[in-house]
């Protein structure tokens, strides 16, 4: 299988603090790859670099063989690379349904001419997007709050909405940044099920940052452990859990 995301020798420093230090990772097409590591290991920074939210100092990032180093997030979106945020982001002044309807690219309403002079065309496309948004909102189990302002949803519901956002377009790779944090156990089960379904039924590749080891164990294969800005180990969850180096990085030398 080919690597859909290929990070090659990336360096990134904030002032004198080297956060990412010669880091190279590959994410296989069709996998749900976990990215774990102690606090300060550089997981979120690496994520932001891949997602185009942070410029890197040196190195390259490839998406399916195409160089995407330092491309802006909106361009990556149109190439099928989507991300969620560690702290759930939403358009707070729009309803949950409108949040989803914001996503699909290249609607006819994009040109001013159509918006003003061909409202019927825009209306037709919008109806199609709306149908899809309703399907997605059913899928993520937020149908009952679809007309609430997204800013009023609970933290967990916002996380579900983030996942829903990735389903509105035909994504190839989705970066999930601590999607389980702050989500209760029941909702978490739904989330995991949904991620597995998207992976299986729609062929999404996932790269997942997570602190919840149960979720990692259930979902991810392989798992990459990041420490001090570079890859420490990579392997199945069993291999990782029994690796003395990993145990030391997490619990300190005392164990």
């Amino acid at each position: 299988m080919a690597a859909i995301i290929d990070v090659q020798h990336v360096h990134k420093a904030f002032g004198g603090l080297k956060v990412i230090n010669d880091c190279s990772i590959q994410v296989e097409q069709g996998s749900i790859t976990g990215l774990i590591g102690p606090n300060g290991a550089g997981k979120s920074t690496l994520f932001n670099i891949i997602a185009g939210a942070l410029p890197l100092d040196s190195g390259r990032v490839l998406l399916d063989g195409e160089e995407i180093t330092n491309r802006p997030a909106n361009e990556l979106f149109h190439k099928g690379l989507l991300r969620t945020f560690q702290i759930a982001h939403e358009f707070s002044q729009m309803t949950a349904l409108e949040n989803l309807m914001m996503v699909p690219p290249a609607q006819a309403g994009e040109t001013l001419f159509n918006a003003w002079f061909k409202p019927s065309l825009v209306g037709k496309e919008e109806a199609e997007v709306r149908r899809r948004a309703l399907e997605v909102i059913d899928f993520i189990g937020l149908h009952h709050v679809r007309n609430e302002l997204a800013g009023n949803l609970s933290g967990g519901q916002k996380k579900l909405l983030e996942l829903g956002r990735t389903m509105m377009t035909d994504a190839r790779v989705v970066l999930l940044d601590e999607i389980a944090a702050g989500v209760n156990r029941t909702l978490l089960g739904d989330l995991v099920t949904n991620i597995e379904r998207l992976n299986r039924e729609m062929g999404y590749t996932f790269l997942v940052i997570e602190h919840d080891m149960d979720m990692i164990a259930r979902l991810c294969e392989p798992v990459i452990v990041l420490a001090q800005g570079s890859v420490m180990v990579e392997g199945s969850i069993e291999e990782i859990q029994n690796n003395p180096q990993v145990i030391e990085a997490y619990f300190g030398a005392a164990s």
Binding site: N74, F85, Q93, M102, G109, L112, A115, W116
Partner: protein, 334 residues
């Protein structure tokens, strides 16, 4: 009845005129704020620039309006809007974008826009001189006198041609903006970006495009406001000086970042100004028998003198902000 006509002429029409100008200006200020999160102080000078472009074009093509039977300035306004939009995008590229790219605090952008103000004022003075000039080059300013169909209404309601244009164009601009923001994909993207710029970008919205579109709209509206005001009175290089403060007051009163709030704020400020300097003694004259005599003795019964007109927006601003700190409409997001 003549008192009523006096009231219509001096309050309803005059207030609507300033209200419309402030509304169009404040919409631009509020859009820029909601997308880029800074108070754009050079907005008044973008208005002056727009009017100056019309002056230049109308001087060059004084007969442009003949075929349509309207003043040349009006026919040339779309061209001036395009030029002002171009200027706005250019200013952003040259001055604000580098600052944004460095991730500076909004206050730095505000100071930057003050610099742009001084620069634009200097440039306009350099080319236009400092005196007032009429935008009516070869045309005659029509004045309509409408007699009211009432007994005893001898004085007519007076409305000038540019005032009529102003009302129509304001209405069209506000409706057009509403359709754009609520229906078009680009307008929705603007709303999204004003709500959450990071998420907007991660949702595939090209934030650079949105910024440029914002400047185009703000520049175009600024040209409209500047030109229509100059048509009604005269073109002066220091036009913006008297516009900037009421426009900011209007934007804040309406709830910063809320276009319809800005429109409402513009009319609140415009009417407040007009009512504050209105001489009430004329209106009260028919009731003089039932009023104490000292009230009407001076013959001038305005709340403040005309020379203090400019303080009125601030009074309104304070009152509204105490009563409703986020503005009439809840602000911050389009």
């Amino acid at each position: 009845m003549n008192e009523l006509v006096f009231f219509i002429n001096n309050v309803v029409i005059a207030g609507s005129v300033s209200g419309s100008i402030y509304a169009i200006g404040a919409v631009g200020v509020t859009l820029i704020f909601s997308i880029m999160r800074f108070a754009h102080f050079a907005h008044g000078d973008m208005m002056t620039f727009g009017a100056f472009m019309v002056l230049l074009l109308a001087t060059a093509f004084p007969a442009a309006g003949d075929a349509f039977g309207v003043p040349s300035a009006l026919v040339l306004l779309p061209l001036a809007m395009a030029l002002t939009a171009l200027l706005a995008v250019g200013i952003d590229k040259a001055f604000y974008k580098p600052l944004r790219a460095h991730g500076v605090k909004p206050i730095v952008l505000v100071i930057g826009s003050l610099g742009v103000t001084l620069m634009l004022q200097g440039l306009i003075r350099l080319f236009a001189g400092t005196s007032g000039q009429s935008l009516y080059i070869d045309d005659r300013k029509e004045i309509f006198r409408l007699a009211l169909p009432f007994e005893g209404a001898r004085a007519p309601v007076v409305i000038t041609e540019p005032q009529l244009y102003l009302f129509v164009i304001t209405l069209v601009a506000v409706i057009g903006l509403h359709v754009f923001l609520s229906r078009s994909r680009l307008g929705k993207a603007m709303r999204a970006m004003s709500d959450n710029p990071d998420l907007a970008q991660a949702s595939g919205i090209n934030t650079n495009t949105i910024v440029a579109v914002t400047w185009v709209i703000a520049g175009g509206l600024a040209a409209i406001a500047g030109t229509l005001l100059s048509l009604d009175v005269t073109f002066k290089p220091d036009l913006s000086f008297f516009l900037l403060l009421p426009i900011f007051a209007a934007a804040i009163v309406g709830g910063v970042g809320h276009p319809f709030g800005a429109v409402a704020g513009g009319f609140v400020v415009g009417f407040a100004e007009t009512l504050a300097v209105f001489n009430w003694s004329v209106l009260l004259r028919p009731f003089r028998d039932s009023l104490p005599s000292w009230l009407l003795e001076s013959g001038n019964l305005a709340f403040v003198g005309t020379e203090y007109k400019i303080v009125v927006p601030f009074f309104i601003l304070v009152v509204i902000l105490v009563w409703r700190p986020t503005g009439i409409f809840k602000g911050k997001v389009i």
